[in-house]
């Protein structure tokens, strides 16, 4: 980039102008939207929580029970995001590279979790995995408890976060140049080498982005989890349930304090992942 001759800059600017007409207006609408939809609500959230003062904040958001809930939320979300990104990579690869009957239907099905009210998913999953459910009848006797357990939480979180992991990776795989892979093979690279050294570096940044989106989605999920987790304090209670409990007491500030911790966790994870993703992208070039 730095080596570009300075003369090229004006032409690039001119081109950008034609590509994006009404730049001022678009920028104004964009920033207005971001401020109105994200910044102001988040600011209100933090202000509410701040009204408690440091001691009150800790008393509301850092109790043993709340810490246990963060651990459950974070642990299950991390597990779900890891599974989703690996599974997402596989599904995206299959959808892009393989031709088989029903591929388009499968492709459309990927978006279903986004459209389905997640409470429905939670209810269906828990009905399937309880001791008397279709799957539970087989799984519970061999010691796999898919309902009212942490495993259950991970299951529904994979369900709600998988579309993000797939849809982020898919276009990147589509844009991969098959010639490069063929060239690598012709130059004597094994299949594994071709995948690890040629294909993976190109798609890894997208996989990481998918991981981040899946994680953020999973951390805030409420509707599906409450139906399958059993909500037992210190065991399967997630942080959003505590927020709802406090709201029931009309304790807004205390509820937002928990929300702020959750938000902080989510944001710091996203930052870490973003840095990682940028490094990977730089290495890939």
């Amino acid at each position: 980039m730095n080596k570009n001759p300075p003369t090229s800059i004006p032409t690039r600017r001119a081109r950008q102008r034609t590509v994006l007409p009404g730049f001022g207006l678009s920028a104004a609408i964009t920033s207005l939207m971001i401020v109105g939809l994200v910044v102001i609500p988040l600011a209100v959230l933090i202000l509410r929580a701040a009204s408690l003062g440091p001691a009150g904040f800790l008393a509301a958001a850092w109790t043993p029970r709340a810490r246990a809930a963060y651990a459950v939320s974070l642990g299950a979300s991390l597990a779900a995001a890891i599974i989703s990104s690996l599974l997402g990579l596989l599904v995206a690869w299959v959808l892009v590279r393989l031709e088989f009957p029903g591929r388009r239907i499968l492709d459309a099905l990927v978006d279903v979790p986004l459209a389905l009210p997640t409470a429905v998913a939670g209810l269906v999953y828990s009905t399937l995995y309880v001791e008397k459910g279709w799957l539970g009848q087989i799984l519970v006797p061999v010691g796999i408890k898919g309902a009212y357990s942490r495993l259950g939480i991970v299951l529904v979180l994979v369900f709600v976060s998988l579309p993000f992991a797939i849809r982020v990776v898919q276009p990147v795989i589509e844009s991969l140049d098959k010639d490069t892979e063929e060239a690598a093979r012709l130059l004597g690279a094994s299949k594994a080498q071709t995948f690890l050294r040629v294909v993976l570096p190109g798609i890894l940044p997208a996989v990481v982005t998918g991981f981040a989106l899946a994680l953020a989605r999973a951390l805030g999920e409420y509707g599906s989890v409450v139906f399958i987790s059993g909500n037992m304090p210190f065991k399967t209670e997630i942080a959003p349930v505590l927020i709802v409990s406090r709201l029931e007491e009309f304790a807004y500030a205390e509820a937002t304090a928990i929300a702020v911790v959750l938000l902080g966790m989510s944001l710091s994870m996203l930052i870490v992942v973003n840095v990682l993703q940028q490094r990977l992208a730089r290495n890939a070039q």
């Binding site: 509301a60 043993p64 029970r65 008397k132 009212y148 849809r167 898919q170 210190f234 065991k235 007491e249």
Partner: protein, 352 residues
Amino acid sequence: MTLSRPSSRPLVTVALLVAVALSVLTTGCSKPSGTGTATTPSIELLNVSYDPTRELYKDINTAFAKHYLAEHGTEVSIKQSHAASGSQSRAVIDGLEADVVTLATWPDVEAIAKSGLVKTDWQHRFDNGSIPYHSVVVFVVRKGNPKGIADWPDLDRDGIEIITPNPKTSGNGKYSFLAAWGSVLAAGGSADDARGFVERLYRRTPVLDTGARAATATFSQKGIGDVHLTFENEAHLEVDESKGALEIVYPKRSVRVDPPVAVVDGNVDRKSTRHAAEAYLGFLYSPEGKAIVAKHHYRPWTADAKGPPAGFPEIETFDITFAAGSWDDAMKNLFGEGGEFDKIYQPSGASN
């Protein structure tokens, strides 16, 4: 459609959505003026209620509209909103333009009163402390009552699993907790006895659903637990739905469930709907209203009534005051942060 190919499709989608939204909005707006004939004035009421009353108010609304048109020559159409009682209360406080609220618990209406939208004397506006009907917490058990559950002490036996929603997030859950707690006091036990009983009960509660209907699904659809604590009206729906797989057991005594109603003064005065709103809630006390209430298994209130309303089994009841002093006390000491319910759950090797 995938997210992968940028195309003009998003624009088309947005345009379509906007078009649909606009058409819905315009038809929605044109309806009120379109349906009423030129001579009949018409008004609209919004009743903000909680989940289990959906079927009840559907019937009440139809009957009331007929009644009000005959009586006052005005067409009323009543819109309903149903969700968890606590969140409905917060929605009204935050600006949902309810004309009347018919909520699950006293604190939910009192919170609106504290915000100023409902006058503080709301409990004296209608008979029986503005409680037109009540219910009781009863047991639902599997067909044939295989565990022989007849009264509260039976729930204390080893191996009996109890299904009830989380009292911190559910009004139904709060009443079940109060019923269990009060049953010990009513039998002559001390507060310590009640604490022990309730603790043992919740230790054998394998799932804490966040709402009443979720707990119903856990018990009836997923087959978990031996006994489900719930409101009598909900129990009837659950048993009817199960087609013979479940049955109701009435304990000797239980808590009286008192769902209060109130006119939202701040909203009706601004919308000039006070007359209809008051008539609407008053209708719940009329013979016709009571018949509908009873049909949906709520016990209608009757002045100087002896014994239960016709068709309802006898059951000894106690109220919140008896079980916990007052709702404020209950919310703080039993269900508040660090209260009796929280104390049941302690960090314990936190494994699964």
